[in-house]
Symmetry: C2
Subunit: 164 residues, 2 copies
Amino acid sequence: MRAEWINPFIAATATTFEVLLECDVERGKPRLKSAVQPQFEISGLMSMQGEASGLVVVSLHRDVAVEATRFIVGHASGAIDADVVDVICEMTNMIAGGANNQLEQLSMQIGLPSVITGKNHVVNYPSGVATITIPCETKWGPFCVDASIKARPSRVLREPTASV
Amino acid sequence: MRAEWINPFIAATATTFEVLLECDVERGKPRLKSAVQPQFEISGLMSMQGEASGLVVVSLHRDVAVEATRFIVGHASGAIDADVVDVICEMTNMIAGGANNQLEQLSMQIGLPSVITGKNHVVNYPSGVATITIPCETKWGPFCVDASIKARPSRVLREPTASV
């Protein structure tokens, strides 16, 4: 995971919360994620593939997921229901898609999102894949965005400078 | 999810357990997965992307994951540790990769695997994505393979007959 690949995720997260939810995000310092750090109760996952392989995990405190759903749908039951799943899928889609637009040199496509729910679930990565976690805070509570990108060793990445 | 897309996952699952683990799989009847069915304690996830988008979830009873790791690594602590995560990543990779080889008309690539751990975690899908679950039993205990494939509406799939 190269350092310059982190900023697109930071920018896409702020834009998504601003545009989708009219909600400011206070961002902490990105750091390397430790091996078995549990997620918040709701995690949206999105895979990205092309000249590199990526995985984005948007993990939210239950209150953030519920209040985001209330903002979008107009009501929320308080339970983790199909509305919450769809809102978190859309949020994950926008963050991964927005970051991907800024990483065009990796020629990746985004895939099908999924949403993991459950207290103390952990997203584990295979050995050798470094993950950066970006801690965030909102008026509704905390969430984080975890990003892993692994270059395919068999391919030469097209650097932006190569096209000049 | 077309019916003819299920058999490649069934075949790849049997082959993976036979080749990787020398372990027979007794398969139940594939069925549509209900919305909020919890997974077993350990789930390997793999996304597939190309002319269609797919997601494969290999969800295993803890005993199956631990005994598979003992078979591959030669020992197992009984905990869900980095060895277990790597073995389940490899298993998920082989099942998704094997199925993908038989679905070449969809021109998909497989991505980075991840492993979700946690009791009663649930993998949720966005509205409109049907998931087939294939229940399986081994000498070590139960597991299941869940497969979702969604054709991209904007693209015409290259059918095998088109190349004749």
